[in-house]
Amino acid sequence: MSILVDKNTRLIVQGITGREGGFHTEQMLEYGTNVVAGVTPGKGGTEFAGVPVFDSVEDAKRATNANASVIFVPGPFAADAILEAEAADIPFVCAITEGIPQKDMVRAVNRVRENGKTRLLGPNCAGIISPELCKIGIMPGHIFRKGPVGLVSRSGTLTYEIVNELTLAGLGQSTCVGIGGDPLLGTRFVDVLPLFESDEETQAVVLIGEIGGNDEEAASEMIRTMSKPVVAFISGRTAPPGKRMGHAGAIISGGVGGPESKVSALEGAGAKVADSTTEIPVLVREALAARA
């Protein structure tokens, strides 16, 4: 079992003929993801890496019966690409693009939520992977292994760093979900945690948060009600207030988003908060042993 994506995922790549979209399409195909179509307006009827390209998501869905889409479209056009996929009734849409204007995302996130027919993951995320089954996004597939750990994270490379340590420690993953580093996200910690709680394969959850916003505090309320153990890590603990640390969402402002409140909320809810990344596999192993 896995969450959100598996062998039945039939993927469209929006922006397949662009540099990033093209490169990662090849990487996803190599991993075994079932990429059934690409979309680039004006390039319908052509092929990329053996994948048929269409002018619109609607055309692509009609021809291939796709049930997921990943977006590599540049920032100025990416929110529109999200809405196009939603309008075509694609149930799962993952936006990798970084740098989408905030105004465009306010509109997109609210419409997607109100209509309730599409789950949006991202934007500004690394994607999602269920090892050996399906990879949607830009992460290096070979560092992941199948196993009992569900992982959800706001950061890309920090996830690779931690997954690498988990894998080296013999702790495989059920699904790893990159929710993204933006202030406005389609899917937040609170949306992913219940999926792991009800997933049979997942035995422990690793939550990787960072400064900015209060999604970790909201997640803590949910962790309180979960039966599965949660190990958490917060990065940016020494970042000064008012500075945006790379991710658009990683900023302490108006007294909100500091690390102390996140760590104490998580600990208060019973999560084990690691002080360093190397501690994570140790805490996960302990949590699994206590559960067995």
């Binding site: 990487q27 609210n110 830009i138 290096p140 490379t157 920090l158 960072e210 020494t238 000064p240």
Partner: protein
């Protein structure tokens, strides 16, 4: 990007938000003309994006145009230094505007409420003071109104917010259209923050935006070529300005260890690990994907523009880009630039072993973990 006060007020005027009459001047003569037109009773404000501008001597009120122009002429070209910005900034422009007689000061702002995922109007009767302090000591004094993203803002909602915030009723009739206008300015300019502090009720019963802070979404500058062209004028730090020009995600911090990493989360982790050794990082820098030699070279150059940097820590997770390729790029860049200070490089991920042997032959200090890298650079930099 943050707008200068005069740019923010020009934006507001375009949307019919009342602001004190005035204009921007680049020399004493222009300042005199503006001051005379305004009848001599004016305030002259240095247009620099730094905190503590008033205490640094950048703001002064006058009763006649002559004195105002002498002050403006003296101020332009001068470097203002404040506690918040010890390096200081050179004044290129001053804003000359009418003095207003303030009876009451309010606060109004528009920004994104991340949790609600909506634009939010904030109003408070506690104007003219640090709003973060108000938020901490009297959170109930700030009233929030979330804007329905589909249907927009209604008058009755604004009126209810003004009542709840205990804003003087004499100001309500003017503030309702003003808040509509502020929201239009926020939306049309792709602002991520529009703050009026203070929003003033004058003795003659007018409501005006006495000061304005506007931040425009960098990701939306393609829709605003006028702002995009301002470029470095909007930078608060010269190295950060250079980073924007080079397209590098860089934030200046106040330590002595330069940091390069790939991915925001990994760089934040690196800063945290440096802090654990008792040292401080000089910067945040995300090199982005790939980490090819020319990109690394550009980042290293940028970091050494800060004279306080005594050592460099490079932390790269090689994912799809293999670690040995990253290591080659790092070695090439550092040799090209003849970097003299200690450098610790940690490359993990794909082909990490090969990467470490490339680094070792190039006389760089390799490290296996982030923790080890932080400890090594801290001890090499010494006390």
């Amino acid at each position: 990007m943050k707008l200068q006060e005069y740019q923010a007020k020009e934006l507001l005027e375009k949307f019919r938000v009342p602001v004190p009459a005035g204009s921007v001047a680049t020399n004493g003569g222009e300042a005199r003309e503006i001051a005379e037109r305004l009848g001599g009773r004016v305030v002259v404000k240095a247009q620099v994006l730094m905190g503590g501008r008033g205490k640094a001597g950048g703001v002064k009120v006058f009763d006649d145009a002559e004195q105002a122009s002498v002050f403006a002429a003296d101020l332009i070209g001068k470097r203002l230094v404040s506690v918040q910005n010890p390096q200081g900034m050179v004044v290129e422009k001053v804003l000359v505007s009418e003095r207003i007689e303030i009876e009451k000061e309010f606060y109004s702002a528009i920004l994104l409420d991340r949790a609600a995922q909506r634009d939010t109007i904030m109003v408070s009767a506690k104007g003219g003071m640090d709003i973060e302090e108000v938020a901490a000591s009297e959170p109930e004094a700030i009233v929030r109104l979330a804007v329905d993203s589909k249907w927009g803002l209604c008058d009755y909602e604004i009126r209810a917010a003004l009542v709840a915030a205990k804003i003087n009723p004499r100001a309500h009739r003017q503030m309702v259209p003003m808040i509509h206008a502020l929201y239009s300015a926020y939306k049309e300019s792709d602002a991520t923050l529009l703050e009026i502090n203070p929003c003033a009720l004058t003795k003659d019963g007018k409501v005006v935006a006495a000061d304005a802070k506007v931040i425009i979404d960098d990701n939306a500058l393609f829709r605003h070529p006028d702002y995009a062209a301002l470029g470095s004028e909007s930078a608060e730090d010269p190295i950060e300005a250079e980073a924007v020009a080079r397209g590098i995600a860089y934030v200046r911090l106040d330590g002595e260890i330069g940091v390069i990493g790939n991915g925001a989360g990994l760089v934040m982790l690196t800063l945290d690990e440096i802090a654990k050794t008792g040292k401080k990082a000089a910067n945040f820098l995300d090199v982005g994907g790939g980490a090819q030699a020319d990109r690394v070279r550009s980042c290293v150059e940028l970091i050494f523009m800060d004279p306080r940097v005594k050592g460099l820590l490079i932390n790269i997770f090689g994912g799809i880009t293999r670690g040995d390729e990253v290591a080659k790029g790092v070695v090439e860049a550092l040799q090209d630039l003849k970097v003299q200070v200690p450098v610790v490089v940690r490359v993990e991920g794909t082909n990490a072993e090969e990467a470490r042997s490339i680094l070792a032959t190039a006389n760089l200090t390799p490290a296996k973990t982030v923790q080890e890298a932080a400890e090594k650079i801290a001890s090499l930099v010494g006390s």
